[in-house]
Each structure stands twice: as C-alpha cells, then as structure tokens.
C-alpha cells in the first residue's frame, strides 16, 4: 500500500516536474513570473486529449506543445508589444484560456480517455509480459522528464539560451550585445509554455481523463517544487539547479503522499502548496529582518 502510494507520488512528481522545469526557464532564467501556467497546463491536456481521442496519440504530444507555444506567444506579445505588466499578461491569458479550453472540448468540461490509445497505453503494450510492465506509467514519465531536461540544458547553453538567461539578469546587457530582449522574452515564454502544455498533456493521458480544473493551482505547486529544489541546490551549475527542480517536484509529491497517509484530506493540497511557497519566498526576507527584530527587543528591554 505504502509502496503503491510512493509510486503514484513519484509518477505525479515526474509529470509535474515538466511544469517545474518550465517555471525554471521562465521564473528563474527569464525572471518572468508566468501566471498563465494553470490555463496553459489545462490547454495542453485538452489539446492532447482531443488529438488522442481522434486517434493520434503520438501527434497529441506535438499538438499540445504547439498549443503551449501559441499561449506563451500571446503572453509575450502582451508584455513586449502592448506594454502590459508581466503578471497581468499571464493572468489575462489564464482567464481567457478557460473559455478556449471548454470550447476545444466542444462545450464539455470533461473528456474521458478510458478507451483511448495514449502514449501510456502504447508503452504499456510495449512492456507487456516483461518485469517492468507494472511500471509503465513511471517509466514513460521518467523518459519524458529526461528528454525535457536534456533538451532544456542543451538549449540554455546555446547562444540563444545565454541571451535568454541574460534577459533575466540584465536586459541592458542583452541590448548592448545587439539582441532584442523582446525577442528573447518571446522565445523563452514560448519554450516554457510548450513544456507546461506537455506536462498537462501527459498528466491527462496518464489519468485517462481531462477536466477543466486539471491545471488549477498548478503554478503554485510548480513554484513550491521549484523553491524546494532551490533550497536543495542553492549553489552549483545549471545542471545541478535543473536537477534540483526535478527533485523538488518529486519531494513535494512524496511529502503530499505522506500527508495523505496521515489522513490529510485531499482538498488540502492547494493550501499546503500555498504555505510552502509563501514560506520559501518569505524566509529569506525574514532572515534579514531577524537581527533587527532582536536588536529592537533588546533595545526596548533596556529602556524599560
């Protein structure tokens, strides 16, 4: 039972790790907090499901990623060409995607893939009769995470990748290298949202269903995972930090699975992730303020 729970946690952790990697790109590298993540995650799931139900499981992944690219492009367009604040651009696109997603599902708020051929069912058939046949979901997720991780790390080392990282660091420096920061922001957001959509697509296919709320709260969960990963690997190179992000996603799901074992109701997941994110973001600030508080207290006592 416990082992089963751990395996599910590992699977979910790996599938969400793709979204964590997406935020690693947009939040950590590009320094843009992309709040369209929830909608984009569902978008990927919906597009993937629709294409898979139409009978193209392989194509469904590409279609989901293409949809993610489009969504990221709109967010980038609002930021770079229309002067919107990056947070607002994300929120606006996120809201709009809700309607788009329902429209794509033909007005329904749920799609069932019980009898649909998916990437997962393909791997299941492939492993039929081997010792690994029970682990087909875990293995599929693992393969995709490794692929995404390798692609992302190779990409970040290219000249374009460097320019994207520099955009988050010092946009003026990017301009001085005669690169347009609007361009790098756009490419970064498109790539990041492609990963988010792929993540959503895979999660939906592994659960054999997609509903409109699949992605809600995803941005907080992925941020929590990213921040846990950041605490694990605070120093070190790009590879270590990206691996930390993946590990963070898995650890988050394991903690959550344990909490479920201790009879925490499932609906608490989002509160837990909120608390983790808030704590991770607040702690560095609180740590800087602590000496001041201590001094102030000592000061007050001295006076009294």
């Amino acid at each position: 039972m416990l082992l089963n729970l751990m395996q599910t946690a590992l699977e979910l952790g790996l599938l969400c790790a793709l979204t964590t990697l997406a935020l690693f790109l947009s939040y950590k590298m590009l320094n843009v907090c992309d709040l369209s993540t929830d909608g984009c995650f569902t978008l990927g799931a919906v597009v993937g499901a629709v294409v898979a139900i139409a009978g193209h499981p392989g194509l469904s992944l590409l279609a989901a990623m293409a949809a993610g690219v489009c969504s990221g492009f709109v967010v980038a367009l609002l930021q770079t060409r229309c002067g919107l604040n990056s947070l607002l651009a994300g929120i606006i696109v996120n809201t709009g995607l809700y309607s788009v997603n329902i429209a794509l599902m033909g007005g329904a708020s749920m799609l069932n893939m019980n009898k649909t051929e998916t990437v997962f069912s393909f791997v299941k058939d492939l492993l039929e009769g081997t010792v690994l046949s029970e682990q087909y979901r875990l293995l599929t997720a693992l393969v995709f995470v490794l692929l995404a991780l390798t692609a992302l790390l190779l990409f970040l080392r290219t000249r374009l990748g460097l320019a994207i990282r520099a955009t988050g660091n010092n946009p003026d420096c990017v301009r001085a290298s005669s690169i347009n920061p609007s361009f790098t922001t756009t490419v970064g957001l498109c790539a990041s949202n492609a990963l988010t959509a792929l993540s959503g697509c895979l999660l939906a296919q592994s659960q054999k269903a997609v509903d409109i709320n699949l992605g809600s709260g995803m941005v907080t969960i992925a941020l929590a995972a990213l921040l846990i990963g950041g605490t694990l690997v605070s120093k070190g190179g790009m590879t270590a930090r990206a691996l930390g992000a993946v590990a963070g996603a898995i650890i988050f799901r394991l903690i959550y699975a344990l909490a479920l074992r201790l009879h925490m109701p499932a609906f608490m997941l989002k509160l837990v992730s909120s608390v983790i994110v808030a704590l991770c973001l607040a702690l560095p600030y609180i740590r800087t303020q602590l000496p001041l508080w201590k001094r102030r207290r000592a000061h007050r006592k001295g006076e009294a």
């Binding site: 080392r157 000249r159 660091n169 003026d172 420096c173 001085a176």
Partner: protein
C-alpha cells in the same frame, strides 16, 4: 562619421518638472576622432549619449552614423555599431552568468544554437590575458563575484570584442579606485588605438579631458558651449578652460563633482 542635426529632447514635457535636456543640438564627429566631453551636472552629457545610443528617441532632429539614418533605430540595432560603457560597473555585465558566458553573448560568434567551443574559450582567454586582471584562468567564475574594476575591464572587453564603429564612455572610471581607474583607462586607450575606434568620452576630470583625445567639448544647458581641437587645444590648461567657461556662460563653473586638477 557621426552626425547630430538639430537634436532636441525635453523630459516631463508639459509638467512643472519640464526639463529641456538638449536643445537644437548639432555635432559632427569625424572617423577616428577621440572627443572628450565635460560639463556641469545637468548640462546634457548623459542625455547626449542616451540619444546617440537610442535609450530614447529624440523629440526632433536627425542622427546619422556612417551616412545611415539611425534617428529611429532601436537601441539593440544601434548596438551593432555603437559600444557603450557606463559609470556603474554593474550595468555592463550579467552578474548571474560566468565570464565566458558573458563574453560568448557579446562575441556574437556562431548562430543562435551554437555552443561555446574550445576555440572560443582559447580566444576569450587570450583577450582576458591582455586585460592583465588575472581573469584568464577564471572563465567559469560568476561575474557577480568580481570586483568593480574587474567587471569594468570585462565590460570594456565585451563592448569591443566585436570592434564597434563608435565607442561611448560615460565616466567609465569614475566609480573605481584611483589605481584601478588608471589601469582601466590605459586599457581603454590601447583598445581605441588598436582598433582605431571613434570615441566620445564623458569625464569629470578637466585635466584628463585635455590630456586624452584630440578634441574637447564643453556642454552647458543642453548645448555646446565650447569646442576646441588642434593647436588651440594643445596649449590649454585647466585654468584656461575655467576662464573660457566663465567668459562664455557668464557664470563660474560650479560643480562639486568636477575635478580641477
């Protein structure tokens, strides 16, 4: 080479804080010229550089570089021909990236998807060795961990690794300690000489304004108050500059940041 024709720029137009930073400003710089620029705070020195580099578009007038109209070219396009170094060493480099990554971005070698090759590294190492700051063996070091002088020297290298047509130096040694400032300045001189760059340099040091370069401009209230070069400039001292300023502007040169010596 660089030509500014009747450039104007007013900030906060229509409000109480309206400030005319450049008014009907015209300037022509020949290829290979090295112009030093002095002037009190608010004289329009940095505004002039911002206008040339494209940090904003001017309200009126025309800017041409090598005969090409760049009046409305965005900053990143102008950066192909114009290199710029600021006073603040933090502005020219990316702190979160390594030395070689910073250089790779500036060097523009290879396509968008090319990686840093061994040949690139060797090239960077050779360039860094010329700086004589001990950076050649620290290609993987985070730029954020370097000292101000090291960062400014790296910025100089980044701005000139692909030699620009025009180099803008905005008091680029003012934030460094005297020894480092001297070193960065001599590096700058070498780079300008070797690449035969056209250069504009803002300085608050009146003596070096006369010692360096081939022409000196004094700005005042968004215009050129004085423009000396050639024989006339050779015989000038700091006291002559001050006197000329007083005679032309009808006021004493009053600036707490201006170094007279």
């Amino acid at each position: 080479m660089l030509k500014l024709e009747h450039i104007s720029k007013t900030f906060n137009s229509g409000t109480q804080n309206e400030k005319c930073a450049l008014s009907d400003f015209s300037l022509s710089v020949e290829a290979g010229e090295y112009v030093t620029i002095i002037g009190a705070n608010g004289a329009g020195k940095s505004t002039l550089f911002n206008a040339i580099a494209g940090s904003f578009f001017t309200d009126s007038g025309k800017i041409t570089l090598d005969g090409k109209d760049i009046t409305f070219a965005p900053a990143h396009e102008r950066a192909r021909e114009i290199g710029r170094i600021f006073q603040d060493p933090m502005l020219g480099t990316c702190p979160g990236m390594s030395i070689e990554e910073n250089l790779a971005m500036a060097a523009k070698r290879g396509g968008w998807f090319s990686h840093i090759t061994r040949a690139d590294r060797e090239f960077f190492r050779e360039k860094l060795r010329a700086l004589d700051m001990g950076l050649e063996n620290r290609l993987d070091a985070q730029v954020g961990l370097l000292s101000g002088g090291q960062r400014q020297a790296l910025t100089l290298l980044m701005a000139t690794i692909v030699p620009p047509r025009l180099l803008l130096l905005d008091e680029h040694t003012a934030a460094l300690d005297p020894g480092t400032a001297e070193k960065v300045l001599s590096l700058t001189e070498t780079v300008i000489r070797e690449n035969r760059l056209t250069c504009l340099m803002i300085t608050h040091n009146m003596q070096s304004a006369l010692d360096l370069g081939s022409r000196t401009l004094m700005l005042h209230q968004g215009g050129i108050l004085m423009d000396v070069s050639g024989e006339e400039r050779k015989g000038m001292g700091v006291s002559d500059l001050l006197e000329r300023f007083r005679a032309l502007s009808g006021a004493a040169l009053d600036n707490d940041r201006m170094l007279l010596g």
